[in-house]
């Protein structure tokens, strides 16, 4: 029994501001899907989520949960549970009471509440803490209580607003997988907000990228990675970020420093100006001997050795959007700092974007 969620041109204009915080958001969340909503700070992720929860008015457009139009329903009538960024546990109630509170308000029988709370506590390994107050818990335990409060409800939709941002790095990684597998087990439609693209990519069935209140692209994580719809998505998804630069085009070749990179016919046909934005991921750069066709020289500035992989940061004879070029290189035999190495872009994995609209250009 899973429920789809649909945003239909949903817009939120905060009183007193002129630009909408969320601008005509069209988004369909499939039943049982884990949708990650990602974007930089202030892009309207929380606002979108709060609109769905009913905590924020919808200025125009509509929101549907299942076949119900909930646009103007109160939060309590939407059958939604939310995990807040700062958990928002009731400090005066014990862990058990926190988890059972919604059921108590709904008038569920005491015995049923305690079984459901006990079940949730077992799933989340919180049984020992049921009688404690939230202030006697660690950050990670509080996070689990907040999760517990949501699952006890057995709602139609889960909303999570950066639930991991208060945890330390290690706990974040383990909790990440726990939440994702829990969601898959329960099969409850989930909208998960994060500003961390790694979190979005690893947890989401699909990822929606938001910028300045405008939806940029919704796709499965790998699609997003392989076929970003525009320059923003290309630069936002992936770590380290994709190398992007604006280059002149001459006779169907892009001039990247001293190299000429042959552009596919489809790309040149779609160009409206004499320039193109090219993007290539760190791992699409191939180290080649000097003089190879299409190779450019890079002066090595820093090398990050991570053991299993290594990244080289260097300067190119041409300007990039980011100050440095990043390339993935063989670990344990990295070039020395200050040396000059040559790279070639794998033509199969070259991304091209329009300089005027930022939209992706066809490459085949």
């Amino acid at each position: 029994m899973s429920t789809p969620v649909v945003f239909d041109a949903a817009t939120r204009l905060y009183p007193g501001s002129t630009v909408p915080a969320v601008d005509r958001l069209d988004l369909e969340v499939q039943p049982g899907e884990f949708l990650a909503l990602v974007g930089p700070s202030g892009c309207g992720k929380s606002t979108s989520l709060r609109m769905l929860a009913g905590l924020e008015d919808v200025s125009s457009g509509s929101i549907r949960i299942g076949d119900r139009d909930v646009t103007h329903l109160r939060p309590k009538d939407r059958d939604i549970a939310m995990v807040f960024q700062n958990y928002a546990l009731y400090p005066h109630l014990t862990v058990g009471e926190n988890m059972g509170f919604a059921l108590k308000i709904a008038g569920v029988a005491k015995s049923e509440i305690s079984t459901r709370v006990a079940d949730a506590a077992r799933i989340l390994d919180l049984e020992r803490f049921l009688d404690r107050k939230p202030k006697a818990l660690s950050g990670g335990q509080r996070q689990r209580v907040a999760m517990g409060r949501a699952i006890v409800r057995e709602p139609q939709v889960f909303l999570m607003d950066e639930p991991l941002s208060n945890l330390d790095a290690k706990l974040r990684v383990s909790t990440r997988t726990e939440i994702a597998s829990l969601q898959r087990r329960l099969g409850i439609t989930t909208v998960y907000v994060t500003h961390d693209q790694v979190e979005a990519m690893t947890m989401g069935d699909r990822v929606a990228v938001l910028k300045d209140g405008v939806l940029q692209q919704v796709a499965a994580p790998l699609d997003l990675y392989d076929r970003p719809a525009n320059v923003f998505v290309a630069g936002f998804i992936g770590s380290p970020a994709m190398n992007l630069g604006t280059f002149a085009v001459e006779d169907g070749d892009a001039l990247v420093a001293e190299a000429r990179i042959r552009l596919p016919r489809a790309t040149t046909d779609a160009l409206t100006t004499g320039e193109v934005v090219l993007g290539f991921r760190p791992e699409s750069l191939e180290r080649v001997p000097a003089g190879t066709e299409g190779a450019f020289a890079v002066e090595v500035l820093v090398v990050e050795e991570l053991g299993s992989e290594a990244f080289l940061y260097g300067s190119l004879g041409a300007k990039l959007h980011n100050p440095q070029l990043v390339a993935k290189v063989e670990p344990r035999s990295v070039p020395a700092k200050g040396s000059v190495v040559h790279f070639r872009v794998d033509p199969e994995r070259l991304h091209a974007f329009s300089t005027t609209t930022g939209e992706a250009l066809p490459t085949a």
């Binding site: 709060r50 929860a53 009913g54 905590l55 109160r74 939060p75 309590k76 939604i80 549970a81 939310m82 807040f84 700062n86 958990y87 928002a88 546990l89 009731y90 400090p91 005066h92 509170f101 919604a102 308000i105 709904a106 107050k133 939230p134 202030k135 006697a136 818990l137 660690s138 950050g139 509080r142 409060r149 409800r153 208060n166 945890l167």
Partner: protein, 283 residues
């Protein structure tokens, strides 16, 4: 000679001495009148006014017996209890709901209301007493306890509203959001989530409203005409007319009047615990 290094929280003996001396002096000044009244209340009538001063002089409970059994004191006492409790209950309900509305909701005229509440506190009782008297007279409330309750609320509610609003502001609004998603409307959120967390603020407000009504004299004298409706503050004045003051009755009454106030304070201070909202949000 080696000296033991002083711990971080230890003071030098000299500053410790100065500190304690100051505290002792301040405490003495604060306690002296109270202790003096207490001692006087235990003396026979003639000893109170005697020029020879003793701490104890034929200690007796006779003054208390007379106050309790030969005057209208018990009656006044009851009136005061009724007035103070009504003021407290009505005052808290009004200021808590108003404070919550001002803290959480946006509505037209919100700023105006807050200014109004601030400004009304600036008028001294002496100025307010005449207009309020006129209003009470028009309402036909003169010589009733209701007139006092209303007048005291008009004093206490604006202040308490500001105070409670400030307190509610410290309760994270995410808790309201969580409550909304858990199925609570605004009133239930207020009742089940906000009020329990505002206990310290409510306790202070309760004590303040109680005190506003308990010992008040000016309004009581102006509005209450008959002896049977007098409250303590006004009633006790009758013991000390311009000629022939009955200090024995006054001191005994004054000691008795302190008891309920102390009792209310005792219950209020139990709730003055810090950190009630700790642990609800963030890590």
């Amino acid at each position: 000679m080696t000296r033991k290094p002083r711990g971080r929280d230890e003071r030098s003996p000299l500053s410790s001495l100065a500190l304690h001396a100051t505290l002792v002096v301040a405490t003495t000044i604060a306690l002296f009148p109270v202790v003096w009244v207490l001692l006087a209340s235990l003396k026979p009538q003639d000893a109170i006014q005697s020029t020879e001063i003793h701490l104890f002089d034929h200690p007796t409970l006779e003054n208390y017996r007379r106050v309790l059994f030969e005057t209208s004191f018990p009656h006044w006492f009851l009136n005061s209890v009724v007035v103070a409790i009504f003021t407290m209950v009505i005052g808290i309900s009004m200021s808590a709901t108003a404070g919550y509305a001002l803290s959480r909701f946006n509505f037209p005229g919100k700023r105006g209301v807050m200014w109004l509440f601030l400004i009304t506190q600036m008028f001294p009782v002496a100025i307010l007493i005449v207009p309020i008297y006129t209003i009470m007279a028009n309402l036909g409330l003169i010589d009733t306890k209701a007139s006092l309750v209303i007048a005291y609320c008009s004093v206490a509610v604006p202040f308490c509203t500001w105070m409670l609003r400030g307190y509610f502001d410290t309760i994270p609004p995410e808790l309201d959001d969580a409550a909304a998603l858990d199925g609570l409307g605004p009133f239930k959120t207020f009742w089940y989530v906000v009020l329990p967390l505002a206990r310290p603020g409510l306790a202070v407000t309760a004590f303040y409203t109680f005190l506003t009504a308990w010992g008040e004299v000016a309004y009581a004298i102006a509005f209450i005409l008959s002896d049977k409706n007098l409250t303590l503050g006004a009633g006790l004045q009758q013991f000390v007319p311009r000629f022939n003051p009955q200090w024995d009755l006054l001191t005994a009454g004054a000691v008795l009047i302190m008891l309920p106030a102390s009792l209310v304070f005792y219950f209020a201070q139990k709730h003055l615990v810090a950190g009630l909202t700790a642990g609800g949000t963030k890590g």
